[in-house]
């Protein structure tokens, strides 16, 4: 019997299972499943039983897995997994860091340090892949730190601003 504690959007889900090459018996938060399985490829696991047939597309991410079933994406992390648990620290409270969602260039700075802003108000305009996009404040508050200037090149994850 194997066991994992999964975390989906902050919610813990207990799962345990036993498997053979072609079958799997699992319980997820007390719900039982008896399934057939087939490893279609590196990234695809087929799961079936009487009347059920789904491909699960599993992509390992830095801190968990993305699983797509019937076109729907779910992000799953595991406690104690090699793929480290990503900490959700009350994202909208206290100081929130605004980071570059992809590599690009800051073409305009719309706010100044110390300014009061509303949620979803633009902080900077970023150009990436020939498109200009506003990077918006995730919450209302004061811009405690503005870390970029017009013309700066930024990489994925670089700090743009902190809103408190």
């Amino acid at each position: 019997m194997k066991h994992r504690t999964a975390v989906i959007a902050g919610k813990r889900i207990e799962t345990s299972w036993t498997e053979t090459e072609t079958t799997i018996k699992a319980t997820v938060d007390g719900r039982s499943y008896r399934l057939e399985k087939h490893r279609v490829s590196e990234a695809i696991l087929w799961l079936g039983s009487d009347g059920l047939s789904v491909d699960a597309f599993v992509t390992p991410l830095e801190n968990g897995y993305e699983v797509v079933i019937r076109g729907k994406r779910t992000f799953i992390e595991f406690e104690g997994s090699r793929r480290k648990l990503h900490r959700h620290t009350g994202a909208q409270e206290g100081t929130v860091s605004v980071r570059a969602p992809m590599p690009g260039k800051i073409v305009r700075v719309l706010q100044t340090e110390g300014a009061q802003i509303e949620a979803h108000q633009g902080i900077v305009v970023m150009e990436a892949m020939k498109m200009q996009n506003e990077i918006k404040a995730p919450k209302g508050g004061r811009i405690a730190k503005l870390n970029v200037a017009e013309g700066d090149a930024v990489n994925l994850g670089d700090l743009i601003a902190q809103v408190e």
Binding site: K2, R4, A6, I8, I13, T15, W17, E19, T20, E21, I24, A26, V28, D29, R31, Y33, L35, K37, R39, S41, A43, I44, L45, L47, V54, D55, A56, F57, V58, T59, P60, G64, Y65, E66, V67, V68, I69, R70, G71, K72, R73, T74, I76, F78, G80, S81, R82, R83, P101, M102, V107, R108, V125, E127, A128, M129, K130, M131, Q132, N133
Partner: protein
């Protein structure tokens, strides 16, 4: 006919042109930047030449380098695809000076139609209906405010050299003018190297419908049906159809004739597209002419059976067009979805990266014009279009149904795509009724109800699948070790049996 054609482009359109070359027994030559080393278009060509660093300005836009490749490879003609140098009159001129055939119109036609100001003047002289607005570029905010006032809000501010939805802004009130002017000028300068802009009246709830034209060097010109390109997100087309759900034979004929007037005004040769705005009362206005192959050309091909790229090559080789207007008929309906490496859950931000898994749909009535493969890394340097999925059906309803089926078969792993977004749009009642305008997607995104939640069972299955993967990939010193992966064991057993 040419023996060898150089394709001065990349991605799916380079692949598309390579296929047309192959279909005609012509040898395709590819060029590639550093970011495109090993790209699909490079792998499919007979010859490939590196042309410099990843930024397009240093590779795909380098006229000198590309003409050198033409000389070195002995290519007799260059197909520019769309974007990059396709609407650059200096490039067409340089080709001609170098004795290489440019597969497209003359430099003069490109220059004329490339200027929104001059093209409007030329089309107006031929009696083509026009949206009211300025003809000459505006100098400053003051002038913009004066013109906007005389036209009445809302107005559009547009880059004179613009196209493809880039470099334009909607202005609803005087307060927005200065910011919009600054942003549009900056975008125009960055994208087109020219910050000239002009102002025109904004047509409320317009549809965007374009007419495909073909013209040869012998004075023959035809229009090849329309394409409905109204479904746009932030002025970028995302879904295109042929025919348009609002079209009837009378309107098609009138728009087709207007498009041919533009062809005459421009002295146009080769394939081109005349774009129109159509208002709620089905009045149409000339917007611009794209002097190249359109991204969405496959829907026309699916419905008419005409291979537009082959026609382009034949026309460039000086042949007489065999197609006559009366021979062109529209059979059934086709719809195209532009599949982008972008994340609809994160404001549609581009999502470049390595494609770890790629499963493409197949079966009757489908076409997937892709520029990628599993294991390919979508570079950050270019437009994130990875594929155009096209479905044909005997009716619009059948085509949409087939598209939904194909979208469900499509899977791209490792990067985010807009596949799920299309599945949602193609189920909207307004879309199914053909009842939309160019603002449809942006409005819908604002008010969209959250997509139905994943069922409890599918969530559980996702947890099981991920858990099984997690155990299978963990190193043996993991805390919950002691369990060996059944998969690894099975794989080793299979290996031993071999």
């Amino acid at each position: 006919m040419f023996k060898k054609i150089l394709i001065a482009n990349r991605g799916e359109i380079a692949v598309r042109v390579i296929r047309a070359c192959r279909d005609m027994g012509i040898s395709p030559v590819a060029v590639y930047s550093e970011a495109d080393l090993g790209a699909l278009h490079v792998r499919l060509a007979d010859e490939a030449y590196p042309i410099g660093p990843s930024p397009a300005t240093k590779s795909y836009l380098s006229i000198e380098t590309i003409l050198n490749v033409a000389r070195k490879s002995g290519a007799e003609a260059i197909h520019p695809g769309y974007g990059f140098l396709s609407e650059n009159s200096s490039f067409a001129q340089a080709c001609s000076d170098a004795g290489v055939v440019f597969i497209g119109p003359t430099p003069e036609s490109i220059a004329l139609m490339g200027s929104k100001v001059e093209s409007r003047k030329a089309a107006a002289r031929y009696g083509v209906p026009m949206v009211p607005g300025t003809v000459d570029p505006i100098r400053d905010g003051k002038e913009a405010r004066r013109i906007a006032e005389s036209l009445g809000y809302p107005v559009m501010i547009k880059a004179s050299a613009g196209g493809g939805g880039k470099g334009m802004r909607l202005i609803r009130s005087v307060a927005e003018i200065d910011d919009a002017l600054t942003i549009t000028r900056a975008e125009a300068l960055a994208s087109f190297g020219d910050d000239a802009v002009y102002v025109e009246k904004f047509v409320e709830k317009p549809r965007h419908i374009e007419i495909q034209v073909l013209a040869d060097r012998h004075g023959n010109a035809v229009f090849v049906g329309e394409r409905e390109c109204t479904i746009q997100r932030r002025h970028q087309k995302v879904i295109e159809e042929c025919p348009s759900p609002i079209m009837d034979q009378d309107l098609r004929q009138r728009m087709g004739e207007a498009a041919l007037q533009v062809v005459r005004a421009a002295g146009y040769v080769n394939a081109g597209t005349v774009e129109f705005l159509v208002d709620e009362d089905r009045r149409f206005y000339f917007l611009e002419m794209n002097t190249r192959l359109q991204v969405e050309h496959p829907v026309t091909e699916m419905v008419t059976g005409i291979d537009l790229v082959k026609e382009q090559i034949r026309i460039a080789a000086g042949e007489q067009m065999e197609i006559r207007q009366q021979d062109i008929s529209l059979n059934g309906a086709a719809i195209e979805c532009r599949i982008y490496a972008e994340d609809p859950e994160n404001n549609f931000f581009p999502s470049p990266g390595k494609i770890r898994l790629l499963i493409t749909p197949a079966g009757p009535g489908l076409r997937d014009d892709s520029g990628v493969y599993e294991g390919w890394t979508v570079p950050i340097d270019y437009d994130p279009l990875i594929s155009k999925l096209v479905a044909w059906g005997p009716s619009r309803h059948d085509a949409i149904q087939r598209m939904l089926r194909a979208l469900n078969e499509y899977h791209v792993g490792g990067i985010q795509t807009n596949l799920a977004f299309f599945r949602e749009i193609l189920n909207q009642p307004d879309f199914l009724d053909g009842d939309f305008d160019t603002g449809y997607i942006d409005r819908w995104l604002k008010h969209r109800s959250a997509p139905p939640a994943t069922s409890q069972m599918d969530l559980d299955l996702a947890v099981i699948a991920a858990a099984v993967f997690d155990v299978a990939t963990e190193p043996s010193q993991d805390p919950s070790a002691g369990q060996r992966s059944a998969w690894k064991v099975a794989a080793r057993l299979r290996g031993m049996r071999r």
